[in-house]
């Protein structure tokens, strides 16, 4: 066969791969829809059955039952459950204009009972702060955990390995909010190196919260890297690499590490979501203005729309992050890719078989 034909086939092969990757992503997105609907339904149901009456809470203490009923009508709270859930998803257009909102799909769930600002306005305003904290913690955890995991694995059973293993064990057992307070006690109260309150404008003040948030992940990822590395080093293909004359450094970093990191990447991915959630507690400890503080404030003030919006928002971001990680994972590991480009391989095989 000619080179042109070869190149042509290679190109179509490439296109098919891209095409099926797209299909894979779409399929995953479609799978996500019922899950997300379920999540929103659960969160909505929880608020629906919660004992407090939002209308009564918004009115002055001495309001009459008629006034409360009137407000309930204006807010659409007198409608049946299904209708209210429908409004929650797709918007509400009440008798007046003051309680209208466009629904979850448009990221609009009305206004806070407390501040009277659009709930998602506050969330979107503060979300970058949470993202910044999460991102810093993620970077910290990766930068610390992977090298320590490798060191620990390549020096199995040495003192270094023991030290790393014990540190990691303690790391996974420490409540983040307590670690945060301990760090404040040591580094803010006693040593005065860092401020005890964090805000996104001052990068130095985010170091302690980022460390706090990163601790658990760092510990989990270190353990994962270590055990994955030890597992991979035992594999036959590592022996093959050695038998080829590859030096120890390249055996570890070229042949073993990349394989060992495949499960670690999955764990890191799953952890990204956890970090986002962990931020709720960490932010509270450092009074950092993120989604976590919004949520906790709202819960303490029984600000239903704000609670609903922040919980749903975090849950959605969590689900999307995990989806993104899965897709990324498929790009990294050719074996996963094989699951959805299997058809392509067979076609290629047939063509190859038929040639000459």
């Amino acid at each position: 066969m000619g080179t042109a034909e070869l190149r042509c086939r290679a190109y179509s092969h490439y296109m098919q791969k891209k095409d099926s990757m797209l299909k894979y992503i779409i399929r995953r997105l479609i799978h996500l829809v019922p899950v997300l609907l379920g999540v929103t339904l659960i969160v909505f149901t929880l608020t629906y059955i919660s004992p407090g009456n939002p209308a009564r809470m918004m009115l002055p203490q001495d309001s009459t039952d008629e006034q409360v009923a009137e407000l309930e009508k204006a807010m659409g709270l007198d409608e049946p459950f299904v209708m209210q859930y429908f409004h929650f998803l797709f918007g509400y257009d009440g008798p007046g204009d003051s309680f209208d909102y466009k629904g979850l799909w448009a990221l609009d769930l009305g206004r806070s009972y407390v501040s009277n600002r659009p709930v998602f306005g506050t969330i979107l305003e503060r979300f970058p702060n949470t993202m910044l904290l999460t991102f810093l913690a993620l970077v910290l955890s990766i930068v610390i955990s992977i090298p320590f995991g490798i060191i620990s694995a390549t020096r199995q059973y040495t003192k270094t390995d023991m030290a790393v293993t014990i540190a990691a064990l303690i790391g996974i057992s420490m409540p983040a909010f307590w670690l945060g307070m301990m760090l404040i006690w040591v580094f803010s109260v006693n040593l005065r190196w860092f401020p005890s309150l964090a805000n996104p404008a001052n990068l130095k003040s985010i170091i302690l919260p980022a460390l706090t948030l990163a601790a658990m992940n760092t510990a989990v990822q270190t353990r994962m890297t270590r055990s994955s590395m030890l597992e991979v080093v035992r594999q036959d293909y590592i022996r093959t690499a050695r038998a080829k004359g590859v030096d120890e450094r390249n055996v570890i970093y070229r042949h073993a590490l990349r394989n060992a990191l495949i499960p670690v990447v999955t764990v890191i991915g799953l952890q990204v979501g956890q970090l986002l959630v962990g931020a709720v507690l960490t932010e509270t400890v450092f009074s950092y203005p993120g989604i976590g503080t919004i949520m906790v404030d709202a819960i303490q003030r029984k600000d239903t729309p704000q609670i609903l919006a922040s919980v749903v928002f975090v849950a959605l971001v969590f689900a999307l992050v995990n989806l993104g990680v899965d897709i990324l994972y498929a790009f990294i590991d050719p074996r996963i890719k094989a699951q959805y480009i299997g058809v392509v391989r067979k076609k290629g095989g047939l063509l190859n078989g038929a040639k000459i």
Binding site: P34, V39, I42, P175, M182, L276
Partner: protein, 298 residues
């Protein structure tokens, strides 16, 4: 038959014992259980919840005159006193009782309900399985602590709601775990044989299938207890769990937070208590995994 079980247990214990850290974990939990059981003997509940304002912030290992049950006596504040002059050590020990109960009850709830759902899904398959597994997927899609937080926020903070929230959020793991085990076991010959002899589905699930998927469930449950205790402490820290003056490690930390400068001991010890209990359960979980993993049997 009994002989055989004894032998199996001895074999298991031999393997478990090989992991020294796991033995340390077991000893730690044993210690906490003893302290929790003896909590009332060591410190009366009224004493550790009542105010002793004059002794507020007494230091570690200090003595003070206290009023306890109508009499005045000299009392040793082993780990110091908090802002209300309450004994920190006593509150930690009473708090241990709460934490151990929460850990046990929530996980027992999750294992029984989640395990049953998983067994039913795995055994019967079809529509029932689809419904149950979709449900589990949805529950899994909401991060545990967030979900628990939402439940307690909606239903109001109380001990029962806390247990319910943590129990529900730990459920889906067991659904998946048991379903997966059941699916691998259900077509094995001895199950086919039992079915051929006319055993009822319930009997088959109970006698033949459940015992065969115990190992992963036991390991997961141990780690799950650690997770539950952590969640409970976190929620209490946020003011959504056990309410003061009831002693609970999370709410102790929440109160101590304001006294970080003047009374760091009120902050350090409850945290250490949480950490050691969780560490102990994690160690036991690791040990159980190694000891129960048939792949590692020699």
């Amino acid at each position: 038959m009994e002989q055989k079980y004894k032998g199996e247990f001895a074999e298991f214990w031999k393997r478990y014992r090989r992991n020294r850290l796991a033995v340390v974990g077991l000893a730690l939990i044993g210690l906490y259980v003893i302290l929790a059981l003896g909590a009332d003997l060591l410190y009366s509940y009224d004493f550790i919840t009542g105010n002793q304002i004059p002794n507020a912030f007494s230091g570690i290992a200090s003595f003070a005159e206290v009023e306890d049950g109508g009499t005045v006596r000299r009392h040793l504040y082993l780990l110091g006193a908090d802002n209300f002059g309450r004994d920190v050590a006593g509150r930690i020990i009473h708090g241990a009782r709460v934490s151990l109960i929460i850990g046990f009850v929530t996980v027992a709830f999750a294992v029984v309900i989640g395990g049953s759902l998983g067994a039913v899904a795995g055994y019967y398959g079809r529509r029932l399985e689809t419904v149950i597994m979709r449900g589990a997927d949805i529950l899994l899609a909401i991060p545990n602590i967030l979900f628990a937080l939402a439940i307690v926020a909606a239903l109001g903070p109380s001990f029962r709601n806390l247990l319910l929230a943590i129990g529900i959020t730990s459920l889906p793991v067991y659904v998946r775990l048991v379903r997966a085990s059941v699916m691998t076991v259900k077509d094995q010959e001895y199950v086919e044989a039992a079915r051929a002899q006319g055993a009822s589905d319930f009997r088959i699930i109970l006698i033949h299938i459940i015992p065969n998927c115990m190992a992963p469930v036991i390991v997961q449950a141990t780690l799950g207890i650690a997770q539950s205790i952590l969640s409970a402490a976190s929620l209490s820290f946020l003011g959504l769990g056990i309410q003061p003056p009831s002693p609970e490690w999370g709410n102790m930390l929440s109160e101590a937070r304001s006294y970080i400068i003047s009374a760091p001991h009120t902050l350090i010890f409850p945290g250490l208590a949480i950490m050691t209990v969780i560490l102990a359960y994690n160690l036991i979980g690791d040990g159980l995994r190694d000891a129960l993993d048939p792949k590692l049997k020699r």
